[in-house]
């Protein structure tokens, strides 16, 4: 029988639970025991004594360890998946508080420097605006949600200013730069919201929801004041920050160049080039800390921040013209050519008025002649300044001449003969190098049409 038993046993021993089955069975039992604990009367009664080492607490620690890994897995799910899902939420969604009060707060604590904290609060402000715009476009921006967004905008702006003040205690220049960055972001958002509000073709403006938000942003921006003339600014700090920002801008431009149109690439590239020239000129200047150099670097920093916003935010690109954010800066050669063209056109305008002086009523003739005299003087100043390389001087003179010509045309434009087809007319306020165009038809009401024309024409059709 011993042999029979051994043989039977040998076969039987091949039947056993796998390690996984055994472990799972054990864990099921541990859970069962935990959910069905011994009554206290049973725990302390009888011959079985509690050991300080092998007590129920030890058993609980062991069981908690076994259950802990399930809790850990669940916690991982909560800590990873839920925040990821929450990132796409907007006000009113269930997980939106996770996005604002957990995700963003955690990211805020991870920012290392006060400057980065200001940047993060600015980003949070921009996020609130983007969320509100998304809801408005879907018709879901209720008054309650809108009020929350407006409050959030003020909260993040206040938080940013608070960080700026804490920076100012130790580094005035850095605080000034942080202020410029915040103001630039607010300028971009304000411009975008203003354009949306005035655009009657979008669905966001009719109920005025975005208008209220635009007002809040404008209010916050105006509270920041003029940040460009802060005396604490220093050349070294500005230049260092500019190097970082322009590098960011270049990298961003490289990343979007493939998706941007030729015109967009050209516009952005032109402005990046202009910023580079400003920085190079500032470096070459003999007095780095002169007010003029600091002012140019400050403008360059602000323009760089706006350009980054323009490139990084598709909503900004959709509602704001790049020239409204960062006006084009002509090169010296471009300016010289532009100035020459404007001088020539002002000459033509002056000649036209002088040759038709007999048509002007006596009571207006003297005033007209005096005005033409001023224009001629300004033209001469502009020409000489341009020739000597003083482009700013030439610009200033031409601005004066343009203003006088405009006043003359308003005064006597109706007395001048109608424009003959093919005759060149002048747009005194044009800022492009080509300020004139050919008018094909006589204007019906010279001087009465104040709408922006599709083609630049003089106000009264000289």
């Amino acid at each position: 029988m011993k042999r029979f038993s051994e043989q039977l046993n040998k076969q039987a021993l091949q039947i056993k639970m796998t390690a996984l089955e055994r472990r799972e069975l054990r864990e099921r039992l541990v859970s069962y025991v935990e959910y069905h604990p011994l009554p206290e009367s049973v725990r302390t009664a009888g011959n079985v004594q509690k050991s300080p080492l092998l007590s129920g607490e030890t058993f609980e620690l062991v069981s908690i360890f076994n259950i802990g890994k399930y809790v850990g897995a669940f916690a991982t799910l909560i800590l990873l998946v839920v925040p990821l899902v929450a990132e796409r939420t907007v006000p009113g969604d269930v997980l939106y508080p996770v996005k604002v009060q957990f995700n963003e707060e955690i990211r805020g604590t991870l920012t290392l420097s006060p400057y980065e904290k200001v940047a993060w609060e600015t980003t949070r402000l921009e996020r609130r605006i983007a969320e509100a715009r998304l809801l408005a476009s879907e018709g879901r921006l209720t008054p309650e949600v809108e009020a929350e967004v407006v409050a959030a905008v003020r909260t993040h702006s206040d938080a940013a200013h608070k960080e700026i003040e804490s920076i100012r205690e130790t580094d005035g220049a850095e605080a000034a730069i942080a202020e410029i960055a915040l103001a630039s972001a607010l300028d971009v958002q304000s411009e975008m919201l203003a354009n949306i509000t005035h655009d009657t073709t979008t669905t966001e403006s009719p109920d005025g929801a975005v208008a209220l938000l635009a007002g809040a942003v404008a209010e916050v921006r105006s509270a920041a004041g003029d940040v460009s003339t802060n005396e604490a600014l220093s050349y070294e700090k500005l230049m260092a920050r500019l190097e970082i920002e322009t590098t960011t801008a270049q990298e961003l431009f490289t990343s979007i160049a493939g998706a941007a149109s030729d015109e967009e690439r050209s516009d952005i590239d032109r402005r990046l080039g202009a910023l580079g020239r400003v920085i190079a000129e500032a470096r070459a200047h003999s007095e780095h800390d002169s007010p003029d150099v600091l002012a140019k670097l400050t403008d360059a920093f602000s323009d760089t921040r706006k350009l980054i916003s323009f490139m990084a935010d598709i909503d900004v690109r959709a509602h704001v013209a790049i020239n409204d954010l960062v006006p084009v800066v002509q090169t010296a050669e471009e300016r010289t050519v532009s100035l020459a063209s404007r001088i020539a056109l002002l000459e033509v305008a002056s000649v036209r008025i002088e040759s038709n002086i007999d048509r002007i009523p006596d009571e207006l003739r003297e005033k007209t002649q005096a005005g033409i005299g001023v224009v001629r003087s300004d033209i001469e100043t502009a020409s000489s300044s341009r020739a000597s390389g003083d482009l700013d001087g030439a610009e200033n003179a031409l601005v004066s001449a343009d203003a006088v010509i405009t006043d003359i045309m308003i005064l006597v434009g109706g007395f001048l003969p109608p424009i003959v087809e093919g005759e060149v007319v002048v747009d005194p306020v044009a800022t492009t190098s080509v300020a004139a165009t050919v008018i094909d038809e006589e204007p019906e009401n010279p001087g009465a049409d104040e709408d922006t024309p599709t083609e630049p024409i003089s106000p009264d059709g000289i």
């Binding site: 029988m1 042999r3 029979f4 038993s5 051994e6 043989q7 039977l8 046993n9 040998k10 076969q11 039987a12 021993l13 039947i15 056993k16 639970m17 089955e21 055994r22 069975l25 054990r26 099921r28 039992l29 541990v30 069962y32 025991v33 069905h36 011994l38 009554p39 009367s41 049973v42 725990r43 009664a45 009888g46 011959n47 079985v48 004594q49 509690k50 050991s51 080492l53 092998l54 007590s55 129920g56 030890t58 058993f59």
Partner: protein, 199 residues
């Protein structure tokens, strides 16, 4: 020294003893359940139910001096319940069918069972266990695989030791008869093949 030992002696808690009983006997219980119900998943559930029932027993304030026989008893009862769900059968019915009087159990001694077992190839018999009626399979597994003695088995199945001996004997005889039948069948096949090859 004795006092130190006494102080050092660790009394085990109910939970610890219970888990130790799982660690020590769960494999054997699983093996027994698998051989009895021929279903791995069901066997795991039966072992789980066995331990939960034992824990409930402990929670009621009962003391378990030795976990092994108690666990086997609970498991056996659960397996019996399992079979009752499948089909109804009882030893009395089986006995009535085969016309065996319990009075004749006296000659079925341990030596008789041992003698019979020694004539059987255990390796080949293992494969035929599933073909046995559960009453016979139960006692064979308890005796020859789980290693329980006749007295423990009788307490477990709540039958007299004589009935246990009868079941053991009949189960072993059935195994031997089926092995002999297979041997004969195999021999007949070989002979027919030889005949065919000659022709």
């Amino acid at each position: 020294m004795a006092a130190h030992k006494e102080k050092g002696q660790i009394a085990q808690s109910h939970e610890t003893r219970f888990l130790e009983a799982f660690d020590e006997y769960s494999d054997a219980l699983f093996r027994h359940a698998t051989l009895r119900v021929s279903d791995r998943e069901r066997a795991i559930d039966l072992v789980h139910d066995t331990y939960t029932k034992v824990w409930s027993y402990v929670r009621q304030g009962h003391e378990i001096e030795s976990y092994r026989p108690f666990l086997y008893k609970v498991l056996n009862n659960l397996i019996i319940d399992e079979y009752r769900r499948i089909k109804e059968s009882s030893l009395d019915a089986l006995l009535a069918q085969e016309g065996v009087d319990e009075g004749s159990f006296a000659e079925l001694t341990v030596d008789t069972v041992e003698s019979l077992a020694s004539t059987i190839d255990g390796k080949r018999a293992f494969a035929l266990l599933a073909e046995l009626p559960d009453e016979y399979r139960e006692v064979i597994i308890l005796r020859f695989i789980d290693g329980l003695g006749p007295k423990e088995i009788s307490e477990l199945v709540e039958e007299s030791e004589n009935v246990v001996s009868v079941r053991l004997h009949r189960g072993l005889r059935m195994l031997r008869d089926r092995l002999e039948a297979r041997d004969k069948e195999g021999e007949n096949k070989r002979q027919s093949i030889r005949k065919e090859s000659k022709t």
